[in-house]
């Protein structure tokens, strides 16, 4: 029953979007990056960049910083930071910041998220973003406020499903030339074969791009402190791989994507849990 509801939701989500064109919703975090960014079902602070519903499962204050370099060009780096704190009976509050580009061109994002879970089975998350596109003189800057929304359900101990919409209001960056912030819909599932092995699958559809992007990833933990990851993307064609190291309160992840035509996208991220409590390695 649960499964058929899920199928229905998924098919509705996929079929509802044969619409219109661009990119602004950068994936952040080397764990997701290593797994082909098939990360809509993940529940860590980096969910602030993938699906805010995932933030709802955080049980203590954490922060993370991350850097990713697209195709080994210094002008195309992406710097990010995220912080999230659970507040009893209210939910989880998160703050995230993203900065792409260099002095002549940049894209920046500042977001505040709220996420809440119900019985550790279902959760939702909302985020308000301020997006800024920055140009060198004499063009100046332009900003816009948009929203994000996501849901996540743990159907069984093994299976998690989730969906996320970026910019559901189809906000304009510049109305006169019909320059809109892209609207991106994602839906996916995560399957935990065992405590050591997680697989995830996700379909991402940008309303302005005809072909959806199918993403898949595998995470394997030969040891509780080490994770090996690999992933693929169909559009654009990409392979990715990476390693994670879990040290008490600190998690270090490194990864690289490999684009068939443009080459490597190296990235690293760290995550730190502020509480002294023994590190609770997220299963998902």
């Amino acid at each position: 029953m649960r499964f058929s509801i899920y199928l229905l939701t998924l098919s509705l989500l996929i079929s509802a979007n044969q619409l219109l064109a661009s990119n602004n919703n950068y994936p952040v975090g080397a764990r997701a990056g290593a797994m082909g960014n098939a990360s809509v079902t993940f529940t860590s602070i980096y969910s602030g960049f993938h699906n805010q519903a995932g933030l709802a499962f955080i049980d203590r204050a954490e922060f993370g910083i991350s850097y990713r370099n697209n195709f080994l060009l210094k002008q195309t780096g992406l710097k990010s930071a995220v912080f999230a704190i659970p507040i009893k009976k209210i939910g989880v509050i998160g703050v995230s910041i993203n900065s792409f580009g260099y002095n002549a061109y940049g894209e920046h994002k500042f977001g505040i998220a709220y996420a809440k879970n119900f019985g550790d089975v279902f959760s939702f998350g909302l985020q308000i973003d301020y997006l800024q596109t920055q140009f060198d003189d004499p063009y100046g800057n332009k900003g816009v406020v948009i929203g994000e929304f996501g849901v996540l359900g743990k159907l069984t101990d093994e299976l998690t499903i989730a969906a996320h919409v970026f910019n559901p209001t189809r906000a304009y960056l510049q109305k006169e030339i019909d320059d809109r912030v892209p609207t991106i819909i994602k839906a996916g599932l995560g399957y935990q074969f065992s405590g050591k092995l997680l697989t995830s699958l996700e379909i991402e559809k940008d309303m302005d791009i005809t072909k959806p992007n199918v993403k898949a990833g595998i995470e394997y933990k030969p040891h509780k402190a080490i994770a090996l990851r690999v992933g693929i993307n169909s559009n654009h064609v990409k392979a990715s791989f990476g390693v994670g190291v879990y040290l008490n309160n600190l998690v270090l992840d490194i990864a690289s994507e490999y684009h068939q035509t443009l080459g490597f996208v190296p990235q690293f991220s760290i995550k730190y849990a502020i509480n002294k409590k023994k590190a609770n390695v997220p299963a998902n």
Binding site: F193, K196, I218, Y220, P222, I232, V237, T261
Partner: protein, 731 residues
């Protein structure tokens, strides 16, 4: 009275045993064929040479491998277990001693019921016996002989067999085939366990003469082998024809090697056996000479030599000053067909000599090997190369050296090979005017570096197979074959045949998400750093395949397959000066149901559709549906298989491939295309203990076409019938 009853009982038991024995053979044969069918199901080639694999598995059925003594090498050579299962079995034996019964297997990690069912006919679990010696007398006495005679003919005859007047024949001698349209194949093989094998094979292709004219010795092609294993320090000894297969096939691999397949998503690793007897009828792809593997402790040394003549197109240039002819050859003819005078002229025109050595170190959890091979041609190869062939082999001599490895760590099995090629007299750019002219054509700034360094190439392949969970296996493989890597007998993993001009990442996974369901998927992304025959620029492509098998009960199976491939291709409808490149997209959907109706009858239904789209053209669609009927339960001596298929495809681009049941030892995966139907029936009848009779008749009917084929192979009729007969004698 008492005696009579006991005699009756004895007889009863004997008969019981006898039929049990036959059932076991039937079961083993079925399993072998199912296994091969499974492996071939997505191969897109018409005839596959699985004779060697069939022979290996059948040999195992007759001489089951004792799991209590089998070495890693022996277990790997069965193709039945993967590395993880092999390792776990060896670990289990180390830890708990010898196995007592097959029921113990289920306790070994990696062994499930399916695996155990699969291997049972080919293995045994008995206490270890003393090592066998090699008594020649005993070998002759207890060895087994097998004789196979096969005849195949297509009706009606094609244009190449039509009658013409003598004057016409004189005028155009190549217009008609010299021989009859029959294909005749005969093979004799003697085997004593794994220790000794010798045999002879002969084949006449359709159109070739038989005991007349150009073929006074009978068959057009003869092959013979003598193969001995474990004779003192000699681990393997091959005389006559043999196969040489090393590492992952980058440096040297004669014969068939698995590439991509929806059923082998994780099993991308090759298990090279170095030397094996050659028993097929391919006229070019094998070694002829002698080879031996010597073993000393953990080291195996293999020395090999091959000297044979291959077909090629000779050109003679008169050198007046020397008053003699200097020859060179312009192409290698790999078909093995000698049906017309011009083909006969090319026969055995080139002398090919191959020699080298391989050294293997067998470590506890792995293996490291090195190999060096030299190939020489006489006369030299001198072709009129197209730009895309710029880095292909030319000249007289080629040298290859490779290093291969494999090792296991925990649940990971790593394997790979690096290879290097050096063409000892490749024309360099300064000496070759056409190459210089070509390099000058390329605008400055776009001149690829590779144009200038063309005598040495490298090929690399590295992969890992991961048994991450009892329900999840995955593999990753990366390969890089430089455009200027040259090896004439290399057959590595890749999108294209041979080992050249390709780089790519491959991901495969097999998993059991829920009960009764198994999933096998792969995704491959590849690039061609240099031009190919159909892409006038460095190209790229990617391919996905997903197969879901649903087994709700033992007697019912559903298979769903989806494949999707996108690849660059030249497409120039507007006749522009430079070919524009578009994406060629292929998609395939398959649904198949197999059901065992009762003890006697099984049914299989398949529906498949194939979609093809080039650039912005409209999508073409092809359909195929078939119904199979298998009758095998009435007697273990007789089995009948029938198919009726309907197909409707616009052209060859939307063709659909389907495996067909055939005579034993024959594996046939034809392409169904155009519009029409195909029907066939196969009978396999075990006449007595010695003789087996196989017969197949198949007919294709085209509803929108009056002819099949073209040129000399054109059949002016709307049906084409194949009749195949085979007799197998075992004594």
């Amino acid at each position: 009275m008492c005696l009579r009853i006991s005699l009756l009982l004895l007889l009863f038991f004997l008969i019981g045993n006898l039929s049990a024995q036959q059932d076991r053979e039937q079961q083993a044969l079925d399993l072998i064929e199912k296994r091969i069918e499974y492996l071939t199901q997505a191969y897109e080639e018409s005839e596959l040479d699985f004779t060697t694999l069939f022979d290996d598995l059948y040999f195992l059925y007759e001489n089951p491998l004792n799991l209590n003594v089998a070495t890693r090498e022996e277990l790997e050579s069965t193709y039945l277990l993967n590395d993880y299962q092999t390792t776990q079995l060896l670990l289990y034996r180390d830890k708990y001693g010898e196995l007592k019964s097959k029921y113990e297997l289920i306790h070994i990690p990696g062994f499930d019921k399916t695996t155990i069912d699969l291997i049972m006919p080919f293995v045994e679990i008995v206490p270890p016996k003393a090592k066998q010696t090699f008594p020649l007398k005993k070998a002759i006495k207890y060895g087994r002989s097998e004789l196979i005679v096969r005849h195949t003919r297509v009706l009606p005859n094609s244009e190449g067999y039509a009658l013409i007047s003598d004057s016409e024949r004189v005028e155009s001698p190549n217009a008609r085939y010299l021989g009859s349209p029959d294909r005749i194949y005969a093979r004799y093989r003697f085997q004593y366990g794994k220790k000794l094998s010798f045999g002879i094979t002969g084949e006449k292709d359709p159109g070739e003469e038989f005991f007349t004219g150009s073929q006074p010795q009978g068959f057009d092609f003869y092959s013979a082998h003598l193969f001995i294993r474990e004779l003192g320090p000699i681990k393997q000894l091959a005389l006559g024809d043999y196969h040489l297969q090393i590492g992952q096939g980058l440096t040297f691999w004669s014969g068939f090697g698995f590439r991509k397949s929806p059923s082998q998503t994780v099993g991308v690793k090759r298990y090279a056996q170095v030397l094996r007897p050659y028993t097929s009828a391919d006229e070019n792809n094998f070694m002829r000479g002698a080879a031996a593997t010597l073993n000393y402790k953990m080291v195996d040394l293999t020395l090999f030599y091959s000297n044979k003549r291959i077909d090629g197109n000779l050109q003679y240039i008169s050198d007046t000053s020397a008053a003699e002819q200097v020859g060179s050859f312009s192409s290698i003819q790999a078909t093995g067909l000698h049906r017309i005078p011009s083909e006969l002229e090319d026969k055995d025109a080139i002398k090919e000599v191959i020699y080298g050595a391989a050294l293997d170190f067998n470590l506890k959890d792995g293996k490291i090997g090195v190999v060096a091979v030299k190939t020489a041609f006489d006369p030299e190869l001198n072709r009129n190369l197209q730009h895309y062939q710029r880095f292909e082999f030319e000249g007289k001599e080629n040298f290859n050296a490779g290093l291969n490895y494999q090792f296991s760590i925990n649940k990971f099995n790593f394997f790979g090979e690096g290879s290097f090629s050096q063409n000892t007299n490749y024309p360099t750019i300064s000496g070759d005017s056409s190459l210089e002219a070509y390099a000058n054509q390329i605008p400055n700034g776009y001149q690829p570096d590779v144009v200038l360094k063309n005598t040495q190439g490298v090929a690399m392949l590295n992969g890992v197979i991961m048994n991450l969970d009892p329900r999840f296996k995955a593999s990753i493989l990366h390969r890089y074959y430089s455009p200027d890597f040259q090896s004439l007998y290399a057959e590595g993993f890749g999108e294209r045949a041979g080992v050249k001009n390709e780089s790519g990442f491959y991901f495969g996974a097999e998993f059991l998400p829920i009960k009764y369901v198994s999933v096998a998927i792969f995704y491959d992304m590849y690039k061609f750093p240099w031009l190919t025959s159909s892409i006038d620029k460095p190209g790229k492509g990617n391919e996905f395949s997903g197969q879901v098998t649903f087994n709700p009960m033992r007697k019912l199976e559903f298979v769903f397959l989806y494949r999707n491939e996108g690849k660059d291709k030249n497409y120039n409808p507007g006749n522009e000066a430079i070919n524009p490149i578009y994406t060629e997209k292929r998609e395939r959907y398959r649904v198949q149901m197999t059901a065992r109706v009762n003890n006697y009858v099984s049914l299989r239904t398949r529906f498949e559709t194939s979609r093809y789209k080039l650039g912005n053209n409209a999508q073409d669609v092809g359909y195929m549906v078939y119904q199979d009927l298998y009758i095998d339960g009435f007697s273990s001596k007789l089995s009948l298989k029938f198919r009726y298929a309907l197909f409707d495809t616009k052209d060859y681009n939307t063709r659909v491939y389907a495996y067909e049941n055939d005579l034993r030892y024959q594996f046939y995966v034809p392409a169904y295309y155009l519009k029409g139907s195909r029907v066939y029936g196969v009978i396999r009848w075990k006449v007595n203990k010695i003789t087996t009779f196989n017969f197949k008749v198949a007919q294709t009917f085209l509803s929108n076409q009056e002819t099949f084929g073209s040129g000399k192979d054109e059949i002016k009729n709307d049906t084409r019938t194949e009749i195949k007969t085979q007799l197998i004698f075992k004594f």
